[in-house]
Symmetry: C2
Subunit: 134 residues, 2 copies
């Protein structure tokens, strides 16, 4: 029996590979490997193996038409980020989104444009809080 639903908690390396796939779309093993090598030296068969494992876990899908298989992310970046964030919030911040946001904003430089984005989001959240939940 094969695993049906992909784990929403990819390992560290799996996540790195997912990032490459999210950024570049369907890719060959060689392409992924070369992208990885720009960050950290990695053997070709290492990348291959990882992709095969990820395929088994349904983290990626595979097009076997041509000799060089094409791998593609089977989970969306958003879903994964959402899930990882939830976990991270729990384990590192005991669930306090507030603390996390304050840390994230406080300890790094934020451009005026980014500040505006947040202000807009806040305004929307405030408006929503005056309405009944849909």
């Amino acid at each position: 029996m094969t695993n049906q639903t992909p784990p929403l908690k990819p390992t560290e390396t799996e996540l790195e590979i997912l990032q490459i796939l999210w950024q570049n779309g369907p890719s060959t093993v060689r392409f992924v490997n070369e992208a990885q090598n720009k960050v950290k030296e990695t053997g070709y068969t290492t990348t291959l193996k990882l992709l095969q494992i990820m395929h088994e876990k349904n983290l990626v899908s595979r097009d076997e038409e041509s000799r060089s298989h094409l791998y593609q992310a089977a989970v969306t970046e958003e879903d994964t980020q959402k899930h990882l964030l939830d976990r991270f919030l729990d384990t590192a911040f005991r669930g306090s989104a507030m603390k996390l946001v304050m840390q994230a904003l406080g300890n790094r430089s934020t451009t005026p444009d980014e500040l505006n984005q947040i202000k807009n989001l806040l305004k929307r959240l405030e408006d929503d809080s005056h309405k009944p939940t849909p």
Copy 2:
């Protein structure tokens, strides 16, 4: 030679134990173990071993005065959170604090009080951005 500086990247279980220590101050193995068991069944010697390893890594300090040693976090919650957040930002959000904040705020309920806190922080950040860096 023993490790001098504690790793700011505690493992998942180590982090759980640190949370217990942060919340309760210096604690015996038994106390930590019982706290852990409220969440997930864990053998006593398992907790002991973990604390011993954490002690070796200088993640916790140990008071051996009485028979039941007292363990205490040797890293602060803030420092650890800061470091974990940086890592998390890199691996999960490709460094975009903005995306993370939006996700964190967007997908969960925020109380009016919390919204105010953020607004205050934003105001401070805006003011700062008009001044030269100190």
